[in-house]
């Protein structure tokens, strides 16, 4: 067999994906009024600041709670906050 016809095995350089348990989305709300909804802001204040104002103005009967950072990594809700939260709107920026 000519050298050019020799068959080799080539190793896989691609990284390994560890198994990830995937979850269903949280149940949706039947209404907004009276609910505790967190608006978690990251970066891009020219969008998130008017967004926060608009949510509070358009939906005054929601108990709005806000987590705020100007960085790219969100401030997580604590366990206590998670217990009473009905929903979260999470801003994400890169």
């Amino acid at each position: 067999m000519a050298e050019k016809d020799r068959v080799y095995k080539f190793l896989n350089p691609v990284g390994l994906q560890l198994p990830v348990k995937t979850y269903p989305l949280a149940p949706r709300l039947d209404k907004l009024d009276g609910k505790e909804i967190w608006f978690s802001i990251t970066g891009e204040p020219d969008i998130t600041i008017p967004f926060e104002k608009r949510l509070k103005a358009d939906y005054p009967n929601v108990n709005w709670k806000v987590k705020k950072t100007y960085g790219p990594v969100q401030v997580p809700l604590s366990d206590e906050e998670m217990e009473t939260a009905d929903a979260v709107i999470q801003g994400v920026c890169w």
């Binding site: 350089p13 691609v14 989305l25």
Partner: protein, 460 residues
């Protein structure tokens, strides 16, 4: 990118909407608020109710065939749509690679005592990106896909990059960083080796060390990029979004410092950062803001130092006076004038380090203090910079220099733009002769580059 991030965090069906890059905020909110509220109220679809396990399998052997066929296999591209709209290599940096046959990888693995099937883990406790605390033995997650790797996979990539077995411990140490690829801005990924291994593996720490020609510098630098592509799953236009990219990342950048001939009292990078002089470490840097250099003609620099002749001497008011003179006074005012605030890594030649020493700077720390003081400006001016709204957390945080809340500081408070502390700056001395200073944005103790030193000896 959102879908990938959601998947690896266990929420593959997350509801999301993109904000606009160009609309004014309030107008964009008009557009988004309806879909966002709908996202809270609309009942879940069957798919959104699904739970399961994402567990893709892969084979140790990726291809079997002749060398010619493997060339074709490893040269595959995929088309990435706008904003890129061009083919992007799947396994390489766009250039042909040295094909990773089983035999070549086995030979490469002779460069380390670690087992081929050993997972890449942190060899010492450390702070990773965004302040995450990692323990010894924690798995390294390669960015951006958070994949993991074995020693054999890193050796496979070392073969592809053209490394020799002796280079492998350096590549493994770089792998321990998780090889981040930066964000949307001008991210530069570069590595600098410090310690006796520089000579042992024949790295170029002298003339042209940032450029082409040296096998070890080039192959190790390339290995970083090939790891980002293969171990991190980084794809331009998909999850690697540096806006117009950086030439530093095209083929990778690794270089070395030249400690022989440092001025008395000046330490190499390893000693400066708490390691012994005989320990081998690699500094793995992700710096955003670019690189700048050669602010003076080398001949002009020599005339300035030797006899106080020329434009530099005129600007600094030392015309006709022989040196040593402080060349930093010539370049520092311009560094932060239009460029990004923050510390800098200065790459200079021995002669220039000697001039600073003769000026009275008996250690690198003395120079860092000088740079930091020269970087002071009133808070009123500092507020007008680009990144400060982010780095001060919208001015809600504490100024680390004074320890006081930003909002309590007066307009005339003097703040250094050269990092929170003097030693966030860095000097790397190389062995060339021609007088040139290159500045990389960022330093080894600043921001995202916190604790960027990895022990090469741990991977021998």
């Amino acid at each position: 990118m959102v879908k990938q991030e959601a998947l690896v965090n266990g929420m593959p069906n997350v509801r999301f909407i993109h904000a606009s890059r160009t609309m004014a905020g309030p107008i964009d909110v008009d557009r988004m608020i309806g879909p966002v509220i709908d996202g809270l109220l609309q009942p879940l679809t069957d798919k959104e109710k699904e739970a399961g396990l994402y567990n893709p399998q892969q084979s140790r052997i990726i291809f079997e065939g002749t060398m010619e066929e493997a060339d074709v296999f490893f040269s595959q591209t995929r088309h990435v749509p706008k904003p890129l709209n061009a083919p992007i290599s799947i396994y390489t940096d766009g250039l042909p690679i040295r094909l990773p046959t089983e035999e070549r990888v086995k030979e490469m693995l002779k460069g380390t005592s670690h087992r081929p099937d050993e997972m890449i883990t942190y060899q010492y406790p450390r702070m990773a990106l965004f302040g995450e605390e990692m323990k010894k033995g924690d798995l390294v997650r390669f960015q951006p896909m958070k994949w993991t790797a074995t020693v054999e996979k890193v050796a496979t990539i070392a073969v592809m990059a053209g490394c020799k077995p002796a280079d492998l411990p350096v590549v493994l140490a770089i792998a321990e960083s998780g090889v981040p690829t930066g964000t949307t801005v001008y991210a530069n990924l570069w590595t600098c080796v410090s310690g006796p291994i520089v000579k042992e593996i024949g790295m170029n720490a002298g003339l042209g060390m940032l450029g082409p020609g040296n096998p070890a510098n080039s192959a190790i630098g390339r290995a970083y990029q090939l790891m980002a592509i293969n171990l991190g799953g980084a794809v331009p236009g998909i999850n690697r979004m540096s806006s117009i990219g950086s030439p530093i990342n095209r083929a990778g950048l690794c270089f070395a410092e030249e400690v022989d001939g440092l001025p008395p009292g000046w330490k190499g990078l390893n000693e400066e950062h708490g390691f012994r002089k005989d320990e081998n470490v690699v500094m793995v840097m992700w710096t955003e803001g670019g690189m700048d250099g050669a602010q003076f003609s080398p001949g002009g620099y020599r005339a300035f130092q030797k006899s106080g002749h020329g434009g530099i001497a005129r600007r600094l008011g030392v015309k006709g006076k022989p040196g040593p003179h402080n060349f930093l006074d010539f370049i520092l005012p311009g560094i932060w004038a239009g460029g990004r605030e923050g510390p800098r890594t200065f790459i200079i030649v021995h002669e220039m380090a000697q001039h600073l020493y003769e000026m009275g700077y008996k250690s690198k720390n003395d120079v860092y203090k000088y740079i930091w003081e020269k970087g002071k400006e009133p808070l009123s001016a500092y507020r007008n910079r680009s990144w400060v709204d982010l780095t001060t957390n919208g001015w809600m945080g504490i100024d680390r220099q004074s320890g006081k809340p930003w909002k309590e500081l007066p307009d005339d408070y003097m703040i250094s733009v050269a990092g929170d502390n003097p030693d966030e700056n860095c000097i790397i001395v190389c062995g060339s002769d021609e007088e040139v200073c290159v500045q990389m944005t960022g330093g080894p103790r600043s921001g995202l580059g916190a604790n960027p030193f990895y022990r090469i000896d741990a991977w021998k």
